[in-house]
Symmetry: C2
Subunit: 232 residues, 2 copies
């Protein structure tokens, strides 16, 4: 009878045992931490600030409540997510990434850069706000963006973000931006169509997105995110 390959990652704590790869390889350990179904996507939804249970769920069509509960517990146990109760007036619970959790961004970038080259990738599926913002930071071409300095407001589904272009990088924070050079408004999928599908003019004409401010900047902005060639 062989040993059961069930190593407790919870350190003595009498909670449920987790399946482990029992492998010293860093990548294998990463999968022990975030390799379960939905785990990485839950983290993705938390990248741009704390969220409530239901708001996380809204960005993850298909996840069920019990699975989200389990993933949040697991991520909290691993030190990737913390849960916080806002002070009494609002008195509600939110989840947010720890600092280390936020430092997982390169994982998403590597996954995204590689997978969009898949012959099977279908960009017409639903896209959450969080995914879209992450994709901008993933796909920006530093060479093309170098020398461009701009402050851009992004309004997606009732949420507002400030994007700052500088030194070939784009940084994004939640919240409104004062006196932006440009404001883009629309659903994530539509803005993705403008940025990745070259449909800026058509989508604006069709009213699916709105472009306020420096139109020339908008035209240039959407050229900064080239998609890599498909594999195969």
């Amino acid at each position: 009878m062989k040993s059961e390959k069930i190593t407790s990652l919870s350190g003595g704590h009498e909670g449920k045992q987790r399946r482990s790869y029992d492998d010293a390889c860093g990548a294998a350990h990463a999968l022990d931490l975030v390799g379960e179904r939905w785990a990485l996507l839950v983290m993705r939804e938390l990248f741009w600030g704390p969220k409530r249970f239901s708001d996380i769920r809204a960005g993850l069509p298909g996840i069920s409540a019990n699975v989200l509960t389990q993933r949040l517990e697991g991520l909290e146990e691993a030190g990737i997510v913390t849960r916080r109760k806002l002070p009494p007036p609002a008195s509600m619970q939110v989840y947010e990434l720890t600092e280390w959790g936020r430092e997982s961004e390169p994982i998403f970038q590597a996954l995204g850069r590689w997978a969009v080259r898949s012959p099977k990738h279908d960009p017409s599926m639903p896209l959450s706000t969080s995914s879209f913002l992450l994709s901008l930071r993933t796909m920006i071409d530093a060479k093309r963006a170098k020398g461009l300095k701009a402050r851009i407001g992004l309004c997606l589904a009732e949420e507002t973000f400030m994007a700052v272009l500088e030194g070939g990088e784009i940084t994004i924070k939640p919240g409104p931006l004062k006196k932006p050079d440009l404001t883009l408004t629309g659903e994530a999928r539509m803005l993705a169509g403008a940025v990745y599908g070259g449909q800026l003019a058509a989508l604006e004409a069709g009213g699916q997105i709105s472009v306020e401010g420096d139109k020339a900047l908008a035209e240039r902005f959407v050229t900064l995110f080239p998609l890599p060639a498909k594999a195969g």
Copy 2:
């Protein structure tokens, strides 16, 4: 009755249906492709050249034959792995990564760099040859290695690899190296102890690894791979 969220990724082909996240996000698509248990680790085992079924299994303690068969089928279907039959004399089947499959290396690097900072990472577990080689390319500090040019033979568990240090990078290929500056021999876990645990001298003295050639180079080599600080 809701739709079943079972989207065929196999395009009309009447094979098994796969569970999909139905999400345009690149990272989500990556998980559709390689998010199943063991999939990434199977890829890891194929990074340094074609392997047979049993050799893959040897690097993955805990995987069962039927699961490995399923993963290889899935990876082949996704265009990540191909199966090839060697010509009649040897007449056996091997699996290898496609070019696109090999380009997934940054995913392993991002996962590894992030996860070794986990408070729960235990480097004393088994380590496959493939993992160790991948870790060298992941952890090398370009600044420290810059200006160092060397050819190093690595002999791990009956397999030989050639590592070439140049321009702050290390490239690794299977096969023996003619007239290396240095040859390191030992099990992956022991060599890892030398490189990451600062145990070069002790392990050599204990006979667990052997160092042939330029000893000063060996001393310097093991300082090129600093581990990042733990999180939390």
